[in-house]
């Protein structure tokens, strides 16, 4: 897939990093400001898609293993289930229990398990959407016209 013109490449250099950082901010401050795991994950995926669209690249050597999705996405979702079952073990033996200390409302480290959920759901959503986009691009290149 050939990249775009030099102008688009320059602007991408400028803003892609900022979009990525904004996505991370939205994920981490999920329990304080609007947005959360989902919104932040999609923003991070947006910045990755922006870079691939602007710069293109030879994706065909990205062998799309037939064995399974990228490990990042599966591990992230596994971690969400692990936290849930962790509540099962440590908390009052109940599935999905918020067992960490709640802290003071409004501070960064405050909502017990919630920031962890946000982070893992954010990585999982970012990895998933980027895979969907990549598989579409690779399919459009591989398959005959």
């Amino acid at each position: 897939m050939k990249g775009m013109t030099i102008i688009v490449k320059k602007t991408t250099q400028l803003i892609a990093g900022m979009i990525f950082m904004y996505g991370i901010y939205v994920i981490i401050h999920g329990h304080l400001t609007p947005g959360g795991g989902f919104a932040g994950g999609v923003i991070v995926a947006g910045s990755l898609i922006l870079v691939t669209l602007a710069y293109g690249g030879n994706f065909l050597n990205l062998i799309k293993e037939e064995a399974g999705t990228t490990i990042v996405e599966s591990l992230a979702t596994m971690m969400v289930i692990m936290i849930a079952t962790a509540g099962f073990i440590f908390g009052t033996h109940v599935f999905f229990n918020n067992f960490l200390p709640k802290g003071i409302v409004g501070q960064l480290i405050s909502a017990g398990v919630l920031p962890l959920y946000n982070i893992f759901i954010g990585t999982e959503v970012a990895a998933s959407i980027f895979i969907i986009f990549l598989s579409l691009i690779i399919f459009k290149e591989e398959s005959p016209q």
Binding site: L32, G35, T69, G103, G112
Partner: protein, 175 residues
């Protein structure tokens, strides 16, 4: 407030009608994207900032995927005369829509008007929720703590969709 939203919804209806009847596929997809973005304005008017962020970002991704599909295809929708079967299905469709609309209008007379909604299950989500879940953002509190099981199911839906897309887009299905 209600007037503002009904104006925007009216514009969305016009946008949706154009998106369905547009001649060129690319403009139809973009019209659908615009309807999605106008939903963001409605969310902001209805005091739902969380939804506005998620909707604006998800609508961008949907637009990217749709344009990626439509871009290298024949953009023209082949316009062919509506044969009898087309007329029959259009007529039944319009009839069904009329009945559904009439029943909907009658059925919502006795329900709470916009803005007067009482709280029952969500009452305990609001008072004392910040202390119990510890999160200042009540919606995140509900999404991740009171109904965390839904969100895990939701993350699994996304994983299933990724697996589905990867199975559908592989080139060789059978050995």
């Amino acid at each position: 407030m209600e007037l503002a939203i009904s104006i925007i919804t009216g514009l969305m209806i016009i946008g949706a009608l154009y998106a369905i009847h547009a001649k060129d596929l690319l403009s139809s997809v973009i019209a659908c994207g615009i309807v999605g973005y106008s939903l963001v304005i409605c969310f902001l008017l209805l005091k739902a900032p969380d939804l506005a962020i998620v909707q604006i970002v998800v609508d961008t991704i949907t637009l990217i995927i749709m344009v990626a599909v439509v871009l290298d295809s024949s953009r023209e929708e082949k316009y062919s005369r509506l044969d009898t079967w087309g007329y029959v299905s259009a007529a039944t469709g319009v009839l069904l829509i009329g009945i559904l609309l009439w029943v909907f209008i009658n059925s919502i007379q006795t329900l709470d008007v916009l803005g007067k909604s009482t709280l029952r299950m969500a009452g305990s989500y609001i008072e004392g929720a910040a202390q119990r879940t510890g999160s200042a953002n009540l919606v995140t509190g509900v999404v991740f703590d009171f109904r965390g099981y839904d969100t895990m199911g939701e993350a699994v839906v996304l994983v299933t969709a990724v697996l589905g897309v990867l199975t559908i887009l592989r080139l060789k299905g059978k050995k």
